[in-house]
Assembly symmetry: C2
Homo-oligomer: 234 residues x 2
DNA sequence: AATCTTAGCGTATTTTTTACGCTAAGATTG
DNA sequence: CAATCTTAGCGTAAAAAATACGCTAAGATT
């Protein structure tokens, strides 16, 4: 595939587990006969290929690097600082792995949210908590932080929370996600009251299992009903 | 200046007058000894230069093409369809005016809002109503429509309306902008009630003049006070 | 059997939103 | 110059939404 050495795409994939928001990182691939120096972790991303649309590039890259398929990616920003490909050893690595003469690269950034559990992810990928990221290659820390800002903004209006939850979930799980991502606390009794009024969250005739307290009902999200009125959850 | 032939910036500048939202367009410059064919109007924009940041490129371009200075530009999207530089005669025009071998160009789009009145704008610029744009060069119609979507989303949360109003304005003018841009109707009595509760809108000891009805008080926006609580207007 | 944790429903109060009545000020009209 | 027209500007009442918090229930743990 003919790479365009001036433009790249990067994907910030969020997931949620153990009460914290995580980001999918990949280990930088090794170059033969070349000592791996510089930063070890990066976002899934690559140069786009010549005749490829940006969105297509992003989804393709994500699949190639992580195994993730059919993920909706949202373009949220572009990063074009002429000095962003620092330090020199990291740039050198990019030149060797891409095989093209890379100089300045403007990168188009995408983010998405997925359920960590049911994602068939290749090796060399790591789910890392967002709030204590290690130093990543190039300006990838910055790219993640900007993605987080965009995520928080969208989170109140759109039903993004269900992307992070399993198909069947308890109201407690739902509340936890809101509290954790928006960094707020909610009164669970009032939270549930609101939920009850929404017709797009339907209780199943099932309960959670293996919890050491009263098991809660499982709910599911009815996207079809949601799209009829789009009332936000909170 | 050394142009980068792969990346450009485009600016969608919104203004408001006579009750409608307008966009700033410029006439395509003529190329010597070359018949001007294709589309006549375009957004202010150009290829970025090699060692220039994207935001810097955008503000510089805007100043060069329209005379506008110190305008806050918001990056909102990137357009990278490999086929976006159609039709051939428009691409040919771009090649001649830029003087570089242009093939595929990914463009980074920005938008802003300004008061039409106090903007010292060069000739060859045209304020055109957004709701009935003529056909523009390349994918510029699409770029404007996306900017409009982003504008509407931001309009509810942020005090963008004051960018479109003169320093002193009446509540009627304020209401008109909301109604027109968000495409809603507001009860003016309830609207005013809300306004009265906001401490960042202060009435001046002045009234509007030369209107053929009861003159309204003039108000001003106190940005400093706004930033203390950021309560949205509606 | 007592205790602990979270589920789950309810009621009372406050705050916000919505609907709409009414007077006031100035320009216009016959 | 009085009647009329338009928009400004204040208010009240009802409806809806948000908040605070009491209480019982179900299952696991001790």
């Amino acid at each position: 595939m003919n790479l365009n050495p001036h433009i790249s795409v990067d994907c910030v994939i969020f997931g949620f587990s153990e009460g914290t928001l995580k980001v999918l990182l990949i280990e930088r691939e090794k170059v033969k006969g070349h000592q791996l120096r510089g930063h070890r972790l990066k976002l899934p991303g690559s140069l786009i290929s010549e005749q490829e649309d940006l969105d297509t590039s992003a989804t393709r890259t994500l699949t190639e690097l992580t195994g993730l398929k059919d993920i909706f990616l949202k373009q949220y920003a572009v990063f074009g600082d002429p000095q962003r490909l620092k330090p020199p050893e990291d740039l050198e690595w990019l030149r060797r792995t891409s095989g093209v003469k890379v100089d300045r690269v403007v990168t188009v950034a995408y983010y998405s949210l997925i359920k960590i559990s049911d994602s068939a992810i290749t090796e060399k990928t790591i789910w890392h908590p967002v709030d204590k990221l290690p130093e990543l290659i190039f300006d990838h820390n910055h790219i993640v932080m900007e993605a987080l800002l965009n995520l928080r903004n969208e989170f109140r209006d759109k039903p993004l929370c269900f992307e992070l939850l399993p198909k069947k979930f308890t109201l407690r799980q739902l509340q936890d996600i809101f509290e954790s991502i928006l960094n707020i606390t909610l009164d669970s009794r009032n939270f549930r009251k609101k939920i009850r009024k929404l017709n797009y969250l339907t209780a199943l005739p099932e309960k959670e299992k293996n919890v050491n307290h009263k098991p809660a009902k499982l709910y599911k999200f009815d996207r079809h009903r949601y799209e009829k009125n789009e009332t936000p959850l909170i």
